[in-house]
């Protein structure tokens, strides 16, 4: 109940103590809330509102502080509706004020207005109350100004620190994935957000793909595609402009169904993000910073200016990571090329020389036992040379994109390895890349696939070898040590065998099958060398 005997002087002194108390915490939103509450206490009001109108401080979003409203407005738009209603309904006896409204100035500009309603005495507010509110409001201005400055600089510093950290990461080697992860982790951290999600363009499809996430389980989200066109997430990537959604449930543009695996977000900020591919206008992605939970996000946090600068900085890191990755890959290929040349030019050359000399000795030798020993040594050398060539070929054909037969069959062997539990050996002999091209290439790949899949399904083999030899003919030979089958029927009731034969005959070739039950099988698929 009001203390009627308190003088204006005392009340003003109270106001100062109140302010001192209020100013302990310098977060702006917290300060505004405490200010309006304290003003209400001083003037004996049941509810109060501090409506911020300063566009400079406010930027895109209104701040709104209140107490005593039947429903706590979480959004300035709703808050203002409540305010209009309260002003309409405010009633008081003649001679007193139905409500108090005093301006709050910050740095010489109107920052907002403080409204107080429903005096607890039921008699309305007195001129004295107004005086106190006015004094309180004008003293608040300085504190708000300080808090604004403090908050802005603290946030600026966080983003600038993050940008600097990102830039520093350039000093060491960065992988793409590590750079992406750093970007989302820092963005989430700095914004005190629930999650951060980086989406980068998928060249061909017109989609954005989730490249990195922070704060949520990457399982199922990573690699997820979001259409670039027609989605809010795609907008920053399309337009290069940030999108801020303070309340997702109030913004029709935000459709959570587009990203069903993401957590329910209350507030999102989406920033344009270059993917570092270096060309302007293209390669733009989106960095999403999202907040879940019921607590409203400080509106300062949603000012996209600094996050945008952070994204710029991050894009440079990505670009650098890409360049580093390219350089590394190039170095690997150059290394492999060098190793391959060394093996061919030095090692095989020497082995060949040694083999030739042993061969000479063997032929000159009168001792048949000695000759036999030498012969087997020579066979060993030839095998070693063949092994070396196989190894080199493996090095050279380790290219995930190459459509050449050796690379395709190596990949096929990799896939079969997962199902078989061991990797089939693959060998190539002769100018396979050049000569097994066009139609022949298609058939060889199809037949090799068919043979391998039959073995995987039926053979129960423990060793499989696949060889492509190009001389006068192109020959594909697949040998396994499995259950074997009746060559007349084939392993799968004859379907696969018929296909293989048909493919061979189309090219003027033939298929030979050797197999005995439990004795393994050898299938040789041969077609003429030069496609006509």
């Amino acid at each position: 109940m009001p203390t009627a005997k308190v003088t204006t002087q005392q009340r003003r002194r109270d106001a100062w103590f109140g302010l001192a108390d209020v100013s302990r915490d310098l977060s702006v939103d917290g300060l505004l809330n405490r200010l309006v509450l304290e003003a209400g206490r001083l003037c004996g009001a049941r509810c109060g509102i501090l409506d911020v109108v300063d566009g400079r401080a406010d930027r895109r979003l209104g701040r709104f502080a209140s107490f005593g409203l039947p429903e706590d407005p979480t959004d300035s738009t709703i808050g203002r509706e409540a305010l209009v209603e309260l002003v309409d309904e405010a009633r008081a006896p003649v001679g007193s004020l139905a409500f108090l409204g005093v301006p709050v100035h910050v740095d010489g500009r109107t920052f907002g207005n403080l409204y107080l309603f429903d005096s607890r005495t039921g008699t309305g507010f007195t001129a004295d109350d107004e005086d106190v509110a006015d004094a309180f409001a004008s003293s608040s201005g300085l504190m708000i100004s300080t808090a604004l400055l403090h908050e802005k600089s603290a946030r600026d510093r966080r983003w600038l620190d993050a940008s600097a950290e990102i830039a520093t990461s350039l000093l060491g080697p960065v992988s793409h994935e590590a750079a992406w992860q750093l970007v989302v982790d820092r963005a989430r951290d700095v914004a005190s957000a629930t999650c951060a999600i980086l989406l980068l363009p998928d060249d061909a499809q017109g989609n954005l793909l989730v490249a990195a996430v922070s704060g949520i389980d990457p399982d199922g989200v990573l690699g997820e595609a979001v259409p670039l066109a027609g989605t809010l997430v795609g907008r920053p990537a399309r337009t290069g402009h940030a999108v801020v959604v303070p309340r997702t449930e109030l913004d029709r543009r935000y459709d959570p169904r587009v990203t069903p695996r993401w957590p329910a977000l209350r507030t999102v900020q989406m920033l344009p993000m270059r993917d570092g591919s270096g060309h302007d206008g293209q390669g733009l992605g989106t960095l999403v910073v999202g907040w879940a939970g019921s607590r409203p996000v400080d509106s300062w946090e949603l000012d996209p200016e600094l996050p945008e600068r952070f994204a710029e900085q991050a894009a440079q890191v990505l670009e650098m990571a890409r360049a580093q990755g390219d350089r590394r890959r190039l170095a690997v290929f150059e290394d492999r090329g060098r190793i391959s040349r060394d093996l061919h030019d030095v090692v095989i050359q020497r082995l060949f020389a040694i083999g030739m000399s042993l061969d000479q000795t063997a032929r000159a030798s009168a001792d048949p036992e000695m000759a036999a020993t030498l012969d087997s040594a020579i066979d060993g050398i030839d095998e070693t040379i063949a092994d070396l060539r196989r190894t080199i070929s493996g090095l050279e054909h380790d290219d995930a994109d190459s459509p050449d037969v050796p690379a395709v069959l190596e990949r096929m062997a990799d896939d079969a390895a997962e199902l078989l539990g061991f990797r089939p050996t693959v060998t190539f002999s002769g100018p396979v890349t050049t000569q097994v091209s066009g139609t022949v290439r298609e058939h060889v790949i199809a037949v090799a696939g068919e043979m391998l899949s039959n073995i995987v399904q039926h053979a129960q083999a423990t060793a499989v070898s696949l060889a492509v030899t190009v001389a006068d003919h192109v020959t594909l030979t697949v040998v396994d040590d499995g259950r074997g089958f009746d060559p007349g029927v084939g392993r799968d009731g004859g379907n696969g065998m018929r296909n293989m034969r048909r493919r061979a005959e189309l090219l003027g070739g033939h298929v030979e099958v050797e197999s005995v039950p439990n004795g393994g099988s050898t299938i040789t698929w041969t077609v003429p060398g030069v496609a006509t």
Binding site: I354, R389, P431
Partner: protein, 218 residues
Amino acid sequence: MTEPITVFLLDDHEIVRQGIKSLLDQNDDLTVIGEAGLAADALRQIPQLKPRVAVLDGRLPDGTGIEVCREVRSRHPGTAVLILTSYDDDEALFSAIMAGAAGYVLKQVRGNEIVESIRRVAAGESLLDPTITQKVLERIREGGPAADPLDKLTRQERRILEHIGQGLTNRQIAEEMHLAEKTIKNYVTQMLSKLGLQRRTQAAVLVTKRGGSLFPEH
């Protein structure tokens, strides 16, 4: 009996030369009339000895085997050349074509078809199938996703490549194009370095291009 086929051997490993020599000497219709460990010696001797067939190591310490071979063919077109190569892949074929050789023989002790190959090329046969040669040349022409446009073959170089594919010697190409033989030689050297670079970096360039996609491992 007809005159034996005269053979010249060029390989920097003496053991290899001896081995091949003893292998060939077992055949009455083949005779090794000279050998060298260095390209320069071979280039001096071949025009004097005029062998029917020269077996040249595709890789030599004093110059690429390809260039030596072209030189031999230019100075003495009557000598058919077989390239002795460590490569059992497209590289062997490429080298043989660029060298203007009649074929190539693999470096392996057993199952070596060197004797048969020498007989065939001595009889004027080419072991290189013209269709395959065309394919290889096509690959070179199209297959140049060179990183740098400067690495691409110029029009002049492409014309020379065409002639190489037809099996012309440097001298013949020079006459055909009204250029000095030395100029053609320079062109070939330059082309080989471009193509070598091209083949080496081809994979890397592909990778670099692919770098644009998001998940290269999938």
